[in-house]
Amino acid sequence: MSANPKGTVSTKTNGAAKTSAGARRGVAGGLATWVEAVKHDRRATFGACVIALFVLVAVFGPLFVGDPTDLVGIPMQPPSAEHWLGTTGQGQDVLAQLVVGTRASLLIGFSVGLIVVFVGALIGITAGYFGGRTDALLSLLFNVFLVIPGLPLAIVIAAYLPSGPLTLGFVLVVTGWAWNARVLRSQTLALRNRDFVAAAVVAGESNLRIVTREILPNMTSLIVSQVIGGTVYAIGAQVGLEFLGLGDVSAVTWGTNLYWAQNDSALLTGAWWTFAPTGLAVALVGFGLTMLNSGFDEITNPRLRMQRAWRAFLLGRGHEPSRSTPVVREHA
């Protein structure tokens, strides 16, 4: 169950190797670059707004709605003025459940996204940097984890552990880290052979310093995009596992909302309001994160950016842009 094994990476690998100028600019300057990046790309702006909205709901939302487990009305009522999104099969308020569920689901999503990349980076960079037997062994490890189907493995592990957010997080990390390790290994491998790394080795810098000062800064954009991808994966997989009934079914999260909707045969009674809003929320967060990611993609990859600028330049002069190899130019 690797985090989106397609698409996002192929365009990244060649672009992530920026000059070390980005690293030298310092943290404040770096942050400003990212904010600029988001503002300039329409997709990224859209994504950032969506994510900000959901984070706000997760933080402050529960203060404005009642207790989501309270039985407030007749079961299976369609949306009305009193209950904006109707009631569930037990007579709870769907809106309250959606809002309160946002907090737990996003929390697990973002923390698993971070941990998965951390574990992946630790193993992937170690393998790529040291090479040789270490590489062979670690590569074998993550390749085996990549090829074993994630969901069945997650189910088997989760079934044996006490159900709750910690179990869920653990299971998601176990089944999710391998993809990140694989991508970061090949990126490290590519950087390892660059001249500036060779220079650092000759200068007698320690391995730790080379990894943290020379290699990691050049992978920042890749790592950020992996954290985003990892979060998308974690939210999706978490909802799937909880839908199966492997989470804590008494807690209120997006996954358990869907679990109860399916359990109360919401579909066969036509109660679309019990499952539609939650799924839309999951998809909006996932889509928002992907959009944010694609914005970073273009900003941190000079080639992609130049391509767009060149195209706009040609179109502005009334030329039909033809297909050409993207080249990094200084103008624009």
Binding site: M1, S2, N4, P5, K6, G7, S10, T11, L140, N143, V144, L146, V147, I148, P149, G150, L151, P152, L153, I155, V156, I157, A159, Y160, L161, P162, V232, G236, V239, G240, F243, L244, G245, L246, L258, A261, Q262, L267, L268, G270, W272, F275, A276, T278, G279, V282, A283, L284, V285, G286, F287, T290, M291, R311, P321, R323, S324, T325, P326
Partner: protein, 327 residues
């Protein structure tokens, strides 16, 4: 040949890891696994079922190593123990009943999704910034963000419940007799439209984007320009020259995506009460049928490993570089 053996060795190793995980997981449970398991089932199970459980897990007084080898022996003989939920049916038999449906569902969906997605990717890259390229990838990305099973719920609600175009669940209706006759096959197809359709729609975007991105970079290559300069028909340049070479990353990704797609299709099965592995899995989770759960994990893993091996053989055939590097 050496390449094939190497890959085969890797899959055997992966299979061994899966089998070993399967052995140790119950033993990682807090406390003594035997008592914990039995405490959970006390009063719910006949004594014979308890014995069957003990037998399945090899939870005897013997040292761990002996237990492990006994277990390996059982697995090799295809003995995965007795199911609790379907007592006294052996796990393998329970799984076998559902396996055909899962392979049918996931297989059809993956193939359709791969072919259609790849072709759309070729189209998007060929007419870059055209209509297909502008609208299809974002739409596919949006749809891909939905959980498979949620799309399945919506499809079931709209096309099954509201419009009544398709049946609400199961693999075939009660009124047809299973067999090789037109009526049965047509009925199975009718029942498969919604589950296959949702998985296809959910996974299409991934293939499309991979193919589009590689195709874009391949289209800038010299040999494509040469083919164009020779005056070959565009169709031939697009398919025979560019697409064929751009296909490689997609094929390599195919094996890896398989496990992912399978996970999604298991969840989809649950929504449609489709009698495959996913449906069994949820039964197993609900009734805490550990032998069945583990059996499903093992069988699905082995199936995915086998499929990956086939993908390796295909890429060997597609990519002369692999052949060259080996011989």
């Amino acid at each position: 040949m050496r390449y094939i053996l190497k890959r085969l060795g890797f899959y055997l190793l992966a299979a061994w890891v899966a089998v070993t995980l399967n052995f140790f997981l119950p033993r990682l449970m807090p406390g003594d696994p035997a008592t914990a398991l039995f405490a959970r089932f006390r009063g719910m199970l006949a004594p014979e079922a308890m014995d069957a459980l003990r037998e399945t897990f090899g939870l005897t007084e013997a040292p761990l190593l002996i237990q492990y080898f006994t277990y390996l022996g059982h697995v090799f003989k295809g003995d995965l123990g007795i199911s609790v939920a379907y007592f006294p049916a052996p796990v393998l038999q329970v799984i076998g009943n559902g396996l055909v449906w899962t392979v049918f569902l996931a297989g059809t969906a993956v193939v359709i999704s791969f072919v259609v997605g790849t072709l759309l990717g070729v189209t998007a890259a060929w007419w870059r910034f055209g209509k297909v390229d502008t609208f299809v990838p974002p739409t596919a990305a949006l749809i891909g963000a939905f959980p498979y099973f949620w799309l399945a719920m919506v499809a079931l609600y709209v096309f099954g419940f509201k419009l009544g175009w398709f049946p609400l669940g199961h693999a075939y209706g009660d009124y047809v007799t299973p067999g090789f006759n037109f009526e049965f096959i047509a009925d199975v197809a009718r029942h498969a439209v919604l589950p296959v359709g949702t998985v296809v729609i959910a996974t299409l975007g991934g293939w499309l984007l991979t193919m589009r991105n590689t195709m874009v970079s391949v289209l800038g290559r010299d040999y494509v320009n040469l083919a164009r300069a020779k005056g070959l028909p565009p169709r031939q340049v697009a398919l025979r020259y560019a697409a064929r070479n751009a296909l490689l990353p997609s094929v390599t990704g195919f094996g890896m995506a398989l496990g992912f797609v399978l996970g999604g299709s298991l969840l989809t099965e649950i929504v449609f009460s489709y009698p495959g592995q996913g449906y069994l899995l949820v039964q197993a989770v609900r009734s805490q049928d550990y032998p069945l759960m583990q059996g499903i994990f093992l069988v699905i893993t082995l199936a995915v490993l086998g499929a990956n091996f086939i993908v390796d053989l295909v890429s060997l055939w597609l990519d002369p570089r692999i052949r060259e590097s080996v011989s």
